[in-house]
């Protein structure tokens, strides 16, 4: 870490040096080309950075390179000929850096989804404001191409700002996580959307007047209405989609300002979010339209007739089963994040491994509230990533697994998705814990999951429930296993 800091500091010093030299020696005419070249290098570094993300061992180096690219781009921009005063720029950069650094240093890993939602809002806000300012300054003399770009910029940006803030409020528990629905909701949403698009088309031909600001307002409103009806369990899709929109807003800014590095960076972000949205939807066997407009758990679905009863078990019984198992698979879900149970889980797994039990972690793509949420929490608890298994890898192992332990997961292990075509989550790929010899479900209480769907897994004869706080239960289990 130290080395990186020093390198960045040296680079800043160096840029100031270059800055003072260039002011004197390079002619004024050459500066725009110099900036373009710096942007080009920055673009290459961004692409290299994302390419390095294909493996955990190279990812960090790649991101350092991308950060250097960003620093270069910012330093280069300071030469821009339109800039006449630096005081407000410096004020903005310093305040932004302080807030950004504070957020990233003190934010607990479990709050990652909230932080990401907030940063989508900030990114989109910047793009939206730049768009509004462009319109404000040049309205009346805007060409149709530039107007189109600004329109996309404020539409994508506006939706993302408020949509992400609602997502943040839901994740933070400021707004209830259950879908907010009312009669005629889809009609209201669609009419608002059509009206905004209508204004947009009109503006392309007549880029003047108050209508532009009406459109911005509509985009803000649409963002709220779009995310309010979406349930907490669908958050991974919303997060990915907001990621994508924030990127596309940046790309549109690039079109409006004739700035290629903005287009490249924004498009990379936009497509990254889009790919993640598609992966998340596939992991739930749903389409994006269904997630956005099909407020979950509504009519037309039937749960399986539940047979049998939930069987409660005790810490001591589970400890014995775990201690004498050959293979144990842990299946974490959002409940593990809310209980902050990742460290306790790793301690239990370590204890088991010391006894010679083979331990694996099964990660469903939509477990948690954002893509990769569980992986990050387990990494924070020092679980080696070689023990983390994806859905397709772990399911074939389930029949030879002695004990599967579900830690705060629900829909991702619901056998109804596989067995009952009428279920609300029919066709969603699941981690087939019910095929293991014994299933232990750690759960706070007897209630349903976030989607409100009954889970037949809990009533199966090979399932036993261990009620209580997951962190507490796991710590007790670790102690009991040691004594077993």
């Amino acid at each position: 870490m130290c080395g990186t800091d020093e390198a960045i500091f040296a680079l800043i010093l160096f840029s100031f040096r270059v800055f003072s030299v260039f002011r004197g020696q390079i002619s004024f005419m050459q500066i725009p080309y110099l900036i373009e070249i710096i942007y080009l290098v920055a673009s290459v570094l961004f692409i290299y950075g994302l390419k390095a993300m294909s493996h955990p061992t190279t990812a960090r180096r790649g991101m350092n390179a991308a950060a250097v690219g960003m620093l270069m781009a910012i330093a280069g921009t300071l030469f821009h000929r339109e800039i006449v005063s630096y005081e407000w720029i410096i004020v903005g950069l310093v305040i932004g850096s302080l807030i950004g650094a504070a957020m990233s240093i003190w934010m607990p890993m479990t709050a990652m989804p909230q932080r990401t939602a907030l940063s989508h809002a900030f990114g989109a806000l910047a793009a939206t404001i730049v768009g509004i300012a462009e319109f404000y300054r040049y309205s009346g003399e805007l060409g149709s191409f530039k107007m189109t770009a600004i329109g996309f910029e404020v539409l994508f940006g506006g939706i993302t700002v408020t949509g992400s803030l609602i997502a943040f409020a839901k994740l933070q528990g400021l707004v209830r996580g259950t879908p907010v629905t009312y009669k005629g909701q889809n009609i209201v949403n669609i009419s608002l959307f059509v009206a905004a698009v209508g204004i947009f088309v009109y503006l392309i031909f007549f880029p003047v007047g108050i209508l532009f600001y009406v459109m911005v307002g509509m985009a803000f409103l649409f963002g709220v209405l779009l995310v309010l009806p979406i349930g907490a369990a669908d958050m991974p899709v919303v997060m990915s989609l907001m990621n994508s929109y924030a990127g596309l807003a940046s790309a549109a800014t690039g079109f409006a300002l004739n700035n290629k590095v903005l287009i490249i960076a924004g498009t990379l972000d936009g497509f990254s979010g889009l790919i993640l949205s598609i992966l998340m939807c596939r992991a739930m066997n749903r389409s994006i339209t269904n997630v956005l407009f099909g407020a979950f758990g509504s009519a037309g679905t039937e749960a399986t007739q539940i047979e049998g009863t939930m069987r409660e078990t005790s810490v001591d019984d589970v400890a014995v089963q775990l201690a004498y198992a050959r293979q144990v698979v842990f299946v974490p879900g959002y409940g593990m994040a809310t209980a902050q149970a990742q460290h306790a889980l790793r301690e239990l797994a370590d204890t088991l491994e010391k006894r010679g039990v083979s331990v694996k972690y099964a990660i469903h793509p939509v477990a948690g509230r954002m893509p990769g949420h569980m992986n990050v929490l387990l990494a924070e608890a020092n679980v080696p990533y070689s023990l983390l298994y994806e859905l397709e890898q772990v399911n074939p192992e389930m029949p030879t697994t002695d004990v599967a332990v579900v830690v705060g997961a629900n829909d991702t292990v619901n056998p109804d998705a596989r067995d009952n075509p009428k279920s609300a989550i029919a066709g969603m790929p699941i981690i087939e814990v019910d095929r293991a010899t014994q299933v232990i479900v750690l759960k706070r209480g007897q209630g349903k999951g976030f989607s409100g769907i009954e889970n037949p897994l809990f009533f199966k004869p090979n399932t036993a429930m261990l009620y209580g706080d997951a962190k507490d239960s796991l710590s007790k289990l670790a102690q009991a296993v040691q004594q077993a």
Binding site: S54, H55, I74, G96, M103, F122, A265, F271, P371
Partner: protein, 99 residues
């Protein structure tokens, strides 16, 4: 903007989209959260537009808008790169480590 500029911008967009698709598809689900915060940090590049806006002293409204935009984009850039690094460090520390 002349037509030639517009075409070249569209070229850049199309190629970046294709490249983005290829590069991002290779990222394993393990790193999806850091990927999201990384792309977020990178798209904070809109800070360059905000900087020009804040520094050009066109009029008071533009300057105020510019400062707000610089602040929010910088939060993303600095916060995004720092949190991504914090996460990637957790993954890197146990590279192939087996107990």
């Amino acid at each position: 903007m002349d037509n030639e500029t517009i075409i070249s911008l569209l070229y850049v967009f199309a190629l970046a989209a294709f490249l983005g698709y290829l590069v991002i598809s290779k990222v394993p689900p393990l790193l999806h959260t850091p990927l999201m915060s990384a792309t977020n940090a990178i798209s904070g590049i809109s800070v360059v537009g905000a900087i020009v806006l804040a520094g050009s002293q066109h009029d008071r409204v533009s300057t105020i808008l510019g400062v707000i935009a610089v602040i929010s984009a910088t939060i993303n850039v600095v916060g995004g790169f720092m949190i991504t690094d914090r996460m990637l460090r957790m993954f890197q520390d146990k590279t192939g480590r087996k107990k």
